[in-house]
C-alpha cells in the first residue's frame, strides 16, 4: 500500500505534489476502478461512427466490452458485449453492420434493440420462459452531448451535461466547426503505452513540454517555412488554462491573427486556404467573431477521467485510454473532421493530423517515450516519492505553459480516491453559454 496522502496541495508555500506510488500500485488501480471508472461518465464513441441503423462498433469502456449501435429506429444504443445465456462475447469485429447480433456458442440472436429474438430449441425451456428477461445487458446510463456518446456504469450520477459543467462549452467549440456535422473518419489508432493512464491525462493538456519533447516537430514546422511566432507570440493567440469543474480542464485561447494559418501544422495554401478563410467568414456571420476566433485557435480539453479532445493543428483528435495494469494502458484515438470539408482542405487536414498525432507521427511517439520513461523512473518511488506539479501556482495568471490543468485533474482524482476536498485554485464558473471562456482571459497571458 502507498502511504497517504497521495496528493499534497499546499496553498501556503505554495506547492503541489503527487505521490509516484499512485502510478505503480495495484491497490490504487483497484480503487480507481471502483471510485473513478465505475462512477464517471465515460466516452463510448461518436454518433458519426454508426451512421445507419444496425451499424455497430465494439470497444472496451471502463474495462468492459460493449457494442455501440443504432437500432431500427435509428436510436443510439449501447449493450454489454456478453451473451445473457453463458456470457460469451458476442461480437469481436471492431466494426460492422448487421440487423442481428448472433452468439455462435449456442445460436442465440438479438436485434439491435437488444431483444432476444431467436434461440434454438426454445420449446425445451417450458411455458414460463420469458425471453424478455434475457435481453442484452446495458450500462446504467447512456447519454449523448453534441454527438459524443457517453455511458455510466452507475445510476447514482448527475446527468451528463451537469457532469460536463464548463467542459460542455468547450465541446461546443469542437462540435460547431461544421455546418453539416462533425464526423469521425474511418480508421483508428489502436496503440498503447507502458505507463500509467493518468500520465496521459496530464500529457494531453501539458503546454510546458511542447518546446522540449516536441523539438523535432517544431523544427519541421520551421523548416517548412511556418512562422512560429504566429502561433506562440503573446497577444496573437492568448493561451490560458481553465479549471472547468468536476476535474475537467482545458488549455486554449482565441486566435487573433485573422485566420491565416493559425495553430500548428504546415501552412495551408491555395485552394485549401481559400476554403478555410471562406469557412471562417461563414462562421463569423453565424456565431460572431469572438466564438469564431476561439474555434480557430487550438485547445486541449481533458474530460475527467480519460477523454482528451485536442484541436491543435487544424486537425482534431479524440483520444481515450484505460489502464490494463498500473504500468500499461491501451490508447485509442480517432480523427474528428468537418463532414463538409472540401477535398483540398480535407487533404491538408489529413496531412497535418498525421504529422503530429498517432503512434508513428512526429510528436506522439515522443510523448509515449516520455511517459514510459516517467513510469520507469517511478520504480524508485519509495526513495524518490513525489512528482512536483506546482508550476504557476503562485501566480494569478494561468498561462497554458503552467500546470493548473494538471492540478485540476489531480484534485478531482484525490477527492474520488480519498474524499479529500480541494478548493478550486481559481474562481471558476460553470457552463456559461456562448459568452466566452468561463472566467476571464488575463490581459497579459
Amino acid at each position: 500500500m502507498i502511504p497517504r496522502p497521495y496528493v499534497i496541495d499546499d496553498r501556503e508555500t505554495p506547492r503541489f505534489r503527487v505521490h509516484r506510488g499512485t502510478m505503480v500500485d495495484r491497490d490504487v488501480l483497484e480503487d480507481e476502478r471502483r471510485n473513478i471508472f465505475d462512477t464517471s461518465w465515460l466516452y463510448v464513441g461518436h454518433e458519426s461512427e454508426i451512421k445507419a441503423p444496425h451499424d455497430f462498433r465494439t470497444r472496451n469502456v471502463g474495462g468492459r466490452p460493449i457494442i455501440l449501435t443504432r437500432n431500427a429506429d435509428g436510436d443510439v444504443r449501447v449493450f454489454v458485449n456478453s451473451c445473457p445465456h453463458r456470457g460469451m462475447q458476442i461480437e469481436t469485429r471492431g466494426e460492422g453492420h448487421g440487423r442481428f447480433l448472433k452468439c455462435f456458442y449456442h445460436g442465440w440472436s438479438f436485434n439491435t434493440s437488444g431483444d432476444l429474438v431467436a434461440l434454438p430449441g426454445e420449446e425445451s425451456y417450458g411455458p414460463d420462459f420469458d425471453r424478455h428477461n434475457l435481453c442484452l445487458a446495458q450500462p446504467a446510463k447512456v447519454s449523448s452531448f453534441r454527438g459524443f456518446v457517453f455511458l455510466s456504469w452507475t445510476d447514482d450520477i448527475v446527468d451528463l451535461e451537469t457532469y460536463l459543467g464548463g467542459a460542455a462549452d468547450i465541446i461546443d467549440l469542437f462540435a460547431d466547426q461544421s455546418d453539416t456535422g462533425m464526423e469521425v473518419i474511418g480508421g483508428s489508432h489502436l496503440y498503447a503505452a507502458k505507463a500509467n493512464w493518468k500520465l496521459l491525462s496530464e500529457n494531453s493538456m501539458d503546454g510546458y513540454h511542447a518546446l522540449t519533447t516536441h523539438h523535432r516537430y517544431l523544427a519541421m514546422l520551421k523548416e517548412s517555412g511556418k512562422v512560429l511566432s504566429t502561433v506562440f507570440a503573446p497577444g496573437s493567440a492568448p493561451n490560458v488554462a481553465y479549471d472547468l469543474g468536476n476535474g475537467h480542464a482545458v488549455i486554449g485561447g482565441a486566435d487573433g491573427t485573422g485566420g491565416q494559418n493559425t495553430g500548428l501544422g504546415r501552412d495551408l495554401a491555395g485552394e485549401a486556404l481559400e476554403h478555410q478563410l471562406a469557412r471562417r467568414a461563414r462562421f463569423v456571420a453565424k456565431f460572431g467573431a469572438d466564438w469564431t476566433n476561439r474555434m480557430f485557435s487550438g485547445r486541449n480539453l481533458v474530460i475527467f477521467p480519460n477523454l482528451a479532445l485536442v484541436d491543435l493543428i487544424m486537425g482534431i483528435t479524440v483520444r481515450t485510454y484505460y489502464p490494463v495494469e498500473p504500468g500499461y494502458m491501451e490508447v485509442t484515438a480517432w480523427s474528428l473532421q468537418p463532414s463538409d470539408d472540401e477535398p483540398a482542405l480535407r487533404q491538408m487536414r489529413q496531412e497535418n493530423f498525421l504529422t503530429f498525432w498517432g503512434p508513428a507521427g512526429l510528436a506522439t511517439p515522443d510523448d509515449i517515450e516520455a511517459l514510459e520513461r516517467c513510469q520507469r523512473g517511478f520504480a524508485a518511488h519509495q526513495v524518490a516519492p513525489w512528482n512536483d506539479i506546482s508550476r504557476g501556482m503562485s501566480t494569478a495568471n494561468k498561462p497554458f505553459t503552467d500546470e493548473l490543468q494538471m492540478r485540476t485533474f489531480w484534485r478531482e482524482w484525490d477527492r474520488r480516491m480519498t474524499g479529500t476536498v480541494h478548493p478550486q485554485e481559481v474562481e471558476q464558473t460553470g457552463r456559461s453559454g456562448r459568452i466566452g471562456w468561463p472566467g476571464q482571459i488575463p490581459a497579459n497571458a
Partner: protein
C-alpha cells in the same frame, strides 16, 4: 501531394511477375534493409524521388486511402526528410539512444508497368530491440519504383502495411518500416 498511384496492400498488378526484374529488386531491397539497420538514413533517403510518399496505413484500415482514412504515416518527401533528420540528430526521443533493428525481406515480386514504372510487392518483418523490449512488426511492402539513381531504382511510393490487428503492445512505430 496528389494524383497518387495508390498501390493498395493486397492488390497486385495483373500478369506474372518478371523473374529477372524480381531478382534485381530483391537484391536492391536487401540494400534498403541494410541501410535502415545500419542507420545510414541519409543514404536511404536519397533513394526517394522528390514527388515520393511514404505511407503506413492504420491497422484497422490496411487498404485505406490516405485522403479518406486515418493512417499512421503519410509522409511526403519533405516530411520523410524531417523524420530522417530527427532520427539522426537524436531528437526523435524514442530512438535516442538508437534501437537495434533487423529488417527481413522476402516474397519479392516485381512487375514492369506500361508507363515504365516498376510495381513491387514483398513481405517484411522488422525486429526492434531497445532496453528489455522486443517489438516485432510484420507486414507487406507495395512500392512504385522508377529506374535510375545511384542504386538502379528510385522509390516513388512506399506503402508499408502492417500485418497486425492492433499496435499493441508495441505502442508505436519509431523506426522506418
Amino acid at each position: 501531394m496528389s494524383q497518387r498511384a495508390l498501390p493498395l496492400g493486397s492488390v497486385i498488378p495483373p500478369g506474372s511477375p518478371d523473374p529477372e526484374l524480381s531478382r534485381r529488386v530483391e537484391l536492391w531491397l536487401y540494400e534498403d534493409a541494410e541501410l535502415l539497420d545500419s542507420w545510414q538514413l541519409r543514404e536511404w533517403y536519397a533513394r526517394f524521388t522528390p514527388d515520393s510518399e511514404y505511407l503506413v496505413p492504420a491497422t484497422d484500415r490496411p487498404e485505406g486511402d490516405p485522403d479518406l482514412h486515418l493512417f499512421f504515416v503519410r509522409d511526403d518527401w519533405f516530411l520523410l526528410g524531417q523524420r530522417v533528420d530527427a532520427m539522426l540528430n537524436g531528437t526523435a526521443w524514442a530512438e535516442s539512444p538508437r534501437s537495434v533493428t533487423r529488417h527481413i525481406v522476402s516474397n519479392v515480386r516485381a512487375w514492369p508497368m506500361p508507363d515504365g514504372t516498376i510495381e513491387i510487392a514483398a513481405n517484411f518483418v522488422v525486429y526492434r530491440s531497445a532496453l528489455a523490449q522486443l517489438d516485432v512488426y510484420p507486414g507487406a511492402y507495395r512500392m512504385t519504383l522508377v529506374a535510375g539513381g545511384a542504386s538502379g531504382f528510385e522509390i516513388r511510393s512506399r506503402r508499408s502495411t502492417l500485418s497486425l490487428a492492433q499496435l499493441r503492445p508495441a505502442g508505436r512505430v519509431s523506426v522506418i518500416l
